[in-house]
Amino acid sequence: MSMPAPTDRPVAVSLFRDAFALERRLFRAERLMPVIVAMLFCAIAYAIANGVAWQDRQNTLLASAQLEERARLDEQLGKLADMQEGRYTPPSAFQNPRSPLWVGLRHAATYAALPPSPLAVSAIGQSDLNPPYVLVSADTRESFALNDEIENPGNLLAGRFDLSFFIVFLLPLVIVSLSYNVLSSEREQGTLAMVASNPVRIAVLMWAKLGYRAGLVLLPLVAFTLLLLLSMGAPVLQADGPLRLLVWLLVVLAYVGFWFAVTAAVTSLGKGSAQNALILVSTWIVLVLVVPTLGSVAVELAYPVPSRAEMINTLREVKNDSAREADANAARYAIEHESADNGGAVSEKDYKTASQRVMMVKLASDRIAATMAVHERQIASQRDTTAWLRFLSPAVLLQDTLNEIAGTSDRRYADFARQVDDFHRSWQGYFNDRVLANRPLDAADYAQFPRFAYQPESAGVLIGRILPTLLGLLLPMLVLVVVASRGVARYPVDAR
């Protein structure tokens, strides 16, 4: 220990610095630093590599969807050109590239895609449950709105080892394992009494030890995350990427701070090392496992989503009734199975059946929307309640926020679904109008088909939503720091 300086404040500062330096020497002596740094590096590298691989898969998926759509359109355009040259006579209305009904329903059905956010690699979030694209057609909404991506359900159950999993679940345990015994081990070894005989407050010693460990966790965490994100080709610098990254760092910092504050508060209780470890692990279990699980049960009990099985049958009834009303049932069969002798244009008979089909879709659409809205309202209520419940557990709060930053949150998928619904209506309008007006499509129309472009929310709105999160992490942290500061003043020095 260095000589005490003349004034009180510098004394604390220099003592803090001394304790900090001592701690570094201890870690160096135990050769712990390289182990911890290497462990952090491996975990972060593995997590980011998984995120990048997942994002590559998502991008490939989007690209292959676009390719598939392009090929389908080209086939129709080819047929259209052949028809004009007299080389192709459609054997049925279904195979007629000029039929606004079948082009809008099937041949030109278009993928509405949700582009990945620049930080998508950081949290797989809900992106494994919600496909990044939806195949929109002029058919009724239920035909596409709830489609799933193919995935082994076992993989969905297990979840993925991504960066947000590492930070939300594992980082607190790294912090706990580094600092559960900061004062207790000194006391157990009898060295605390020796230290306390010097003019040093135990509070300074505790904060210096925790501060050193915080640095040991945070510096490699931030450095490796930035380095690996950039070197593994994640597009973090594109668009509002840097801003998202900054917010990401802030919330992660606050989360790390929260867990160190928990450790400090537990340390200040003056219990033994093993007991500290038990209390800290129990806290982890409560915040990371019990609160979210019970919260999930509570939310689902409060807002149960009605049976999907029943919904399926209701929708079939709705479609049956609408079809009967539009007398299109027989017509649909005729369209698919009888050939039309139209020689290129849409025949009278095809027009009749096509318009009946459109009438059916129009009649059914509102009823289907109303049926599905019941489910969606419940899910929205669950989401809104979760937005409050998450403040009960910093782990849930952080998980949710990291998903938001990565653009893989429930909220973003709901927003995407809303935009797709608007687009679906305009798509239906475009084709249905042409069916009812009996206007066959030509090449110029093909170029005019409605196109979907996702309107992302501005970074400002996103940040505005994340600010409460930051408060939700910092406030409990401050409370815990106060508790710890008061408690540690009464810390028992005697070896037990």
Binding site: E149, G154, A274, R316
Partner: protein
């Protein structure tokens, strides 16, 4: 070491039953008095009871909903009125997977797998409506079900009450006393293990028996009640091996470590790796080694393959070839002269060719899933949860193999509808192009879709490997514990 010294060395005698019983009794009393156990055990008991009742209620509700929906779907099929049979096949039916009666013990993949499939003409569809999409991201932290308590919380309880089993004796100086009065370390191990096992049995056997009793109230329409009892028994054997292994590990580590603190940290680290890190980390490895195709890739591969089929295209070379072969078979030169309906015959032929394509493509997809599961469970040699989880899900009937079994049954039923509708048209539809309609008696000739859970024996055929992995792990841990305990020193 020579044979002589080996025989000369005092071979530790088999632990006399009396000594072991004394140790076990003392340990048991001590554990019962432990405040840690009162709190943690009480919490676990409450959680188990909640999970059991909640799970049962959800399972019953789901089963009722799905049974009602299956009934409605069949009624819709019957109420189609008069129409062309192929048109009726297009309308089809929905199959809803019945909730397995054991799913309240382990819901497994249920939240993440589609619950319904449309059985329509020409197409084998994917299952839709994953329950997890009707929930929030909170669900991803885990489900409150009894398997979670058994797989994750019970091992933690074991760790918490046993981490200082040996280190504590050493720290208090009682180990020296015990060894000085001639207690064999192996006797200590067996005694402590007996006490912990008894305690766990008190905590865990009642809910297991309660679960088995609940199984008697299961609606028996799609299960064999003796069989599900057998399944639950097999499931509990898996948990017993898993938890016994954890207890041995905990005792072994406690004997090997210099301090209680170190033992606790090592055990907690293993618990975290086993329950949280390994399942995810291995999932990523499995997904890399056996990648799942995307829906677009899968569908376009199917579309591509189906181009070889003629569908409704009468200019397709395959169609012409088929028509010629039929004409030749009946010895006529014109379709109109055939004694059977040719369009129906061609539909049937197209379907038959489609079945082969679907079998091949779905077979390949499901093989990828099973390969991923296999890779995942291999980690069970080190991290037993990787072997226990699939075992538990399989016995509960909520794993991927039994989902595929249901999908296969639904597809078989779909094909029955196709065949029956085509056969009716082949017999009755005239060849002159005039339309033909059938009525409710044809729809009623298709019996309602019934699904029965596979027998436990057939599940065992796929699952014995996981139980073996668990046993190998537990045996390894037993060996480890015995070895370190034999080297036990009082200081």
């Amino acid at each position: 070491m020579s044979a002589i010294t080996e025989t000369a060395a005092p071979v530790p005698a088999l632990p006399p039953a009396g000594m072991v019983a004394t140790i076990a009794g003392k340990e048991f009393t001590e554990l019962l008095r432990d405040a840690r156990l009162k709190w943690a055990g009480g919490l676990i008991a409450v959680l188990m009871l909640t999970a059991l009742l909640l799970g049962w209620q959800q399972q019953q509700q789901l089963d009722r909903e799905r049974a009602a929906a299956s009934h409605t779907s069949y009624q819709q099929w019957l109420g189609q009125g008069e129409k062309n049979p192929h048109s009726a096949a297009h309308y089809g039916q929905y199959a809803f997977k019945p909730a397995s009666p054991l799913s309240f013990l382990d819901p497994g993949i249920n939240p993440y797998v589609g619950s319904a499939v449309w059985m329509e003409a020409h197409k084998q569809n994917e299952f839709r409506f994953r329950p997890a999409r009707d929930a929030t991201s909170l669900r991803r932290f885990g489900d409150l079900s009894i398997n979670f308590v058994w797989q994750v919380l019970s091992p933690l309880l074991i760790v918490l009450i046993t981490f200082n089993a040996f280190t504590g004796e050493r720290e208090r100086g009682t180990l020296r006393q015990l060894l000085s009065v001639g207690v064999q370390p192996a006797q200590l191990l067996v005694g402590k293990m007996t006490a912990i096992s008894a305690l766990l049995a008190i905590l865990l056997v009642p809910p297991m028996l309660m679960a088995m009793a609940m199984l008697f109230f299961v609606d028996e329409h799609h299960v064999d009640s003796l069989d599900i009892l057998g399944r639950s028994g097999l499931m509990f054997i898996g948990y017993a091996v898993y938890l016994a292994g954890f207890a041995l590990l905990s005792l072994g580590v406690s004997a090997a470590c210099g301090s209680s603190r170190k033992a606790l940290i090592v055990l907690l680290a293993f618990w975290v790796l086993n329950c949280f890190v390994a399942p995810r980390a291995i999932t990523d490895v499995a997904a890399r080694l056996a990648p799942t195709p995307s829906a677009v890739q899968f569908q376009s591969a199917l579309t591509q393959a189906k181009k070889a089929n003629f569908g409704h295209d009468e200019k397709h070379p395959a169609f012409i070839a088929f028509r010629d072969s039929v004409l030749a078979r009946y010895g006529v030169s014109r379709v109109e002269d055939l004694p059977v309906n040719f369009r129906a015959l061609s539909l049937n032929e197209d379907d038959e060719r489609g079945y082969r394509i679907y079998d091949e493509h779905y077979g390949r997809l499901w093989a990828i899933y099973l390969e991923q599961e296999r890779i995942r469970s291999l980690a069970g040699v080190l991290f037993p949860m990787a072997a226990l989880q699939p075992w538990s899900m399989a016995m509960a009937g909520t794993d991927i193999a039994q989902q595929n079994d249901f999908a296969t049954a639904a597809e078989r039923y779909r094909r029955e509808i196709q065949k029956a509708m085509a056969a009716d048209m082949i017999r009755n539809r005239p060849n002159d192009g005039s339309d033909y309609v059938a009525g409710p008696e044809l729809w009623a000739s298709i019996a309602p879709f019934e699904y029965r859970l596979p027998q436990a024996a057939s599940v065992l055929g796929n699952q014995w490997r996981n139980l073996l992995l668990l046993l190998v792990w537990a045996a390894m841990i037993g060996g480890f514990a015995l070895t370190v305990v034999r080297r036990l020193r009082p200081t």
